[in-house]
Amino acid sequence: MTLTAILIVAAALFGIGLFGALSQKSFVMLMMGLEMMLNGTLLAAVGFWAFTLEGAPKGQLLAILVMAVMAVELAIGFALVVAVYRKREADVIEGIGTMKQ
């Protein structure tokens, strides 16, 4: 288990998340792509803490902040999905075309 191996796994998770966020039509599946990207970010943060910081606890703090970001993203994302659905009966991205300029 080396830092390089961990970061490559994190990069793979990020790439999968990017693919999902760009390709999925449904709002909820799009949010799962975002979560997957944050998953990779979390792994990279913990890896950096364990291998390059000599155990400085601020690295763990960064990981906790990533988790807080996940929670915020999920809560606000679902609230937006509910609001958009209530307003426009839209549950896929193509349904909110009027947001285009």
Partner: protein
């Protein structure tokens, strides 16, 4: 638990968990049922939590598993509410700009991996006998308390925002009364198309849960095609 530079057992576990995390992450966007996708994402998160435990970040690892278990349960609930394809009985291919997405994902992975392989990272691993849990506690409620508390206030603001966004009515009428998209020039027409087409619902069956607001929308859209935005057009009348 295994520490850094431990035996082959740690390595073996790491590679197994990594493979599981990536494979289940891939399955998230390939399975037909959104519930299965949710559980695949949970497996991926749990594997990452296990890797964190292997790296002696015990608290982060366990907290990730707990948090993600709860989060994915909430996610699963919303999946049922917004599900296109209950139980994955039909093949589901709900994607757009597919080739571009694959290219972007591969490019993101290759770019990041190249950056990882070309960078010369410092090598200061965790000392063998460091009490990481105690370190974290002292840091959270000591030196970085302001950051930690800021995260708490951010979560509180998130709760308020989520309630405000998802509430239908406030004390003074509809929560979005008077809300209208701004005009392109002062007093002018708002940007974009006027009439929403049903939201791209073609291509997949099973809309059992989508009947909540149907009648209301039909009324709204029948009187004037330019008022297809529901309540948003109240101010224009």
């Amino acid at each position: 638990m295994g520490r850094i530079g431990g035996t082959g057992m740690t390595d073996l576990l790491f590679y197994a968990l990594s493979a599981l995390a990536i494979w289940s992450g891939w399955r998230v966007f390939r399975v037909d049922s959104m519930i299965r996708a949710t559980f695949a994402l949970m497996v991926s998160f749990t594997s990452v939590g296990g890797i964190a435990v292997l790296m002696a970040a015990d608290y982060i690892g366990v907290a990730t598993v707990f948090m993600m278990a709860v989060e994915m349960m909430v996610m699963g609930l919303f999946m049922v509410m917004f599900m296109m394809n209950p139980a994955g009985l039909n093949p589901m291919q709900m994607v757009h700009q597919y080739k571009f997405s694959i290219a972007a994902g591969v490019l993101g992975f290759v770019g990041l991996a190249t950056a990882v392989l070309l960078t010369n990272f410092p090598d200061n691993p965790l000392p063998e006998n460091r009490d990481t849990l105690r370190d974290l506690g002292i840091e959270l409620l000591g030196g970085s308390m302001l950051i930690f508390e800021t995260a708490g206030v951010t979560l509180l603001a998130t709760m308020v925002g989520a309630v405000a966004l998802s509430s239908r009515r406030g004390r003074f009428g509809d929560s979005d009364a008077g809300a209208a998209p701004p005009g392109l020039h002062p007093g002018g027409e708002p940007a974009g198309r006027k009439v929403e087409k049903g939201g791209g619902h073609g291509g997949h069956g099973g809309h059992g849960g989508h009947k909540m607001n149907m009648e209301k929308t039909k009324q709204d859209s029948s009187d004037d095609p330019h008022k297809g935005h529901g309540n948003m057009s109240e101010t224009e009348a």
